[in-house]
Amino acid sequence: MIREQVTIQNDQGFHVRPAQLFVTESNKFSSTIKLITENDNTVDGKSILGLMTLGLAQGSTVTITAEGADEEAAVRALVELVNSKFGEA
């Protein structure tokens, strides 16, 4: 299993658009993807509802984990997506 910690940097945190982009990206991989918050809440990385109801604001730190055939590529892609502030200015 691969895991990596990232910080949410975009203004409004995990709102619809970032959550949507995260799920779209996660679905490109066969691995099981999870997102773990600082207080140990774990949600399915392919569930937009799970991601959004975490209520992650700007500045929150989360751990992305992936387990499966393409786990390495998955974590790399998702970390990159978060660090790119989901393409927001």
């Binding site: 945190g13 619809v16 779209t24 569930s47 209520g55």
Partner: protein, 579 residues
């Protein structure tokens, strides 16, 4: 096939002919009340749910594509988010679990899961995330609709010229009407002042309402002719009937061309008295054409559309953008914004107001807004901020006593205080007035006149409340008459009370757009006439032919008559007399 004549109530003038589009929004089905299922029915219930999910996904994907093309990829993201909610690995399995484990119907499973997730969103600290509860509920609504087994086609999806035929149209249906495609409207129920009638008139779409059981004989794609003046419809018209109708349509066209000459002239009587003719609008879109159509301003800007076309309360920013657009489109001409008039027959799904036995006497308009002052305060702040972009005025609907007026006025001052503290600019000396649509307000007009800047008489509700007649009920529709002597006395009281305090009085109900009433209102001293843009040329034309001094004498005479028919007859005689 022989032609079939159908009689209804003509509420919006004009002759049209076209193919029928039958609109049937979610019919109440038995399954709505069904909560539990037998164990043997579980597989069937799961299958229904799965089918509804597939159908919803297809609809949403189509909608995403359409939105991408018309509004751009950015706007489509919200809808894509809804697609993801539908496809979410936690969403359906949870519903299936409930159907299997608790033997609940698919409908109830959808409701329970949707509410659970919406509740989760609402518990989040960020306002932005709390508002996402509306997305989840929207998905739930779509699923429910599809479980009900109907096509879920929305009126906004109609992309060819049709005559729209429906049992009734809700206010949220009517705001989706596109004049380009909707040639005419025919409904089973509804009266002269129903919201469908008001909107059809304001959009200039000919309409015949209240055709009753005859609607059952009309089928999808039938050829239907309607005459919005007389209320006559012809189903499967013969070639000769069609030809005659086409001639009539041409005549109507020429007539409106002839009248349009008056549209852009000031409304001045033969003896040189000028009145102000302004428009009623319900959307920012309408404000773009108001000046060209001859309006000298906006006498009533209904703000409900902003609230009804949304899945959650519009923010101050969204409201500000709309008010600013209207203010700018009117290029310095006055715009009277009416604060939120919701409740009654105008519902807001996200407010979840309980059904009332007497909605018109219930929790609506200013009553609701004073009970939930944050809603009104947000709106007033948005209006104030927009006031620097034009000439805005504000009025409160459904005022029934002085306390309500003073509370609303206090919120207005509070909004100003807040903005001043924040260093936000707004215009000085904005006029604040009230609608007079409840007899108690008309009777106390002398007291109100000392505190308001202006009155605007809303005849539609004023008649309904004065004569105690439900304006939606066709059985008593003929009692609904603004020429009722009691209504005329109230109108006179309001205008005179205003003038004694140096305040102006306008009228924004249907009566203002009726040329038959023009001499009477002129004689009573009305200052401002606000109407559907389509009536402006007609009223200005009528004013040009009148003597104000004569009308004053006429009004005094009419006020001594005891019945509406006598008053009408007298008015007709007056209008027909040679000059």
């Amino acid at each position: 096939m022989s032609e079939q004549r159908i009689q209804g109530l003509g509420v919006s003038a004009g002759t049209r002919i076209g193919r029928v589009h039958l609109y049937r929004p979610q019919a109440a089905t038995d399954s709505l009340s069904r909560k539990q299922v037998a164990e043997a029915d579980v597989p069937a219930e799961l299958e229904r749910l799965r089918a509804a999910k597939e159908q919803s996904l297809e609809q949403l994907q189509a909608l995403v594509e359409k939105t991408k093309q018309s509004l751009g990829a950015d706007k489509a993201v919200i809808l894509e988010g809804q697609t993801s909610i539908l496809a979410d690995p936690t969403f359906f399995p949870e519903m299936e679990k409930r159907i299997q484990g608790q033997l609940v119907s698919a409908e109830l499973a959808v409701d329970q899961v949707v509410e659970q997730i919406a509740g989760l969103f609402e518990s989040l600290p960020q306002e932005y995330m709390r508002e996402r509860a509306a997305d989840v509920r929207d998905v739930g609504k779509r699923l429910r609709t599809n479980l009900g087994g109907n096509s879920g086609v929305s009126l906004a999806d109609i992309q060819q010229e049709v005559v729209l035929v429906a049992d009734d149209l809700t206010p949220s249906d009517t705001v989706q009407l596109d004049k380009t495609y909707i040639l005419g409207i025919v409904t089973r129920t509804g009266g002269k002042t129903s919201h469908t009638a008001i909107l059809a008139k304001s959009l200039g779409i000919p309409a015949v309402l209240g055709i009753g059981a005859a609607l059952d004989t009309i089928e999808q794609g039938d050829l239907l002719l309607l005459d919005g003046n007389t209320g006559a419809c012809v189903l499967h018209p013969l070639e000769s009937t069609v030809e005659e109708a086409r001639r009539r349509m041409e005549d109507e066209h020429h007539q409106s061309q002839a009248l349009s000459v008056y549209a852009n002239q000031p409304a001045v009587t033969r003896d040189g008295h000028q009145i102000e003719v302004v428009a009623n609008i319900g959307t920012t879109l309408e404000s773009r054409s108001s000046l060209a159509e001859g309006a000298e301003g906006i006498g009533l800007f209904r703000t409900e559309f902003l609230f009804m076309n949304a899945t959650s309360m519009p923010t101050e920013e969204e409201q500000f953008a709309a008010y600013r657009e209207v203010a700018e489109n009117l290029q310095g001409h006055p715009v009277v914004i009416r604060t939120l008039d919701i409740g009654g027959d105008k519902e807001l799904p996200y407010l979840e107001l309980p059904k009332e036995l007497n909605p018109f006497l219930g929790y609506r308009a200013i009553r609701l807004c004073l009970d939930r002052p944050e809603i009104l305060l947000t709106q007033l702040r948005a209006i104030l901020r927009a006031s620097v972009h034009g000439q805005l005025k504000v009025m409160f609907p459904m005022i029934s006593n002085l306390q309500e007026w003073r509370q609303a006025k206090a919120l207005w001052l509070q909004a100003q205080e807040q903005l001043r503290a924040e260093g936000v600019a707004f215009a000085d000396g904005i006029e604040v007035g009230m609608m007079v649509e409840i007899p108690s307000a008309a009777l106390l007009a002398d007291q109100f006149a000392k505190e308001v800047d202006f009155f605007s008489i809303g005849t539609n509700d004023l008649v309904q409340y004065t004569v105690a007649v439900d304006r939606m009920n066709e059985k008593v529709a003929d009692l609904y008459d603004y020429f009722h002597p009691a209504v005329l006395r109230l109108i006179q009281m309001v205008i005179e009370a205003g003038h004694r305090e140096g305040k102006w009085t306008g009228m924004c109900g249907g009566m203002a757009g009726d040329p038959q009433a023009t001499p009477l209102l002129l004689g009573l001293g009305l200052d401002e006439w606000s109407m559907d843009a389509g009536s402006i040329a007609k009223i200005k034309h009528a004013v040009h032919g009148l003597h104000r001094a004569d009308c004053v004498a006429l009004a005094q005479r009419l006020l001594t008559l005891g019945t509406a028919p006598e008053i009408r007859t007298e008015l007709q005689t007056y209008l027909q007399q040679p000059e």
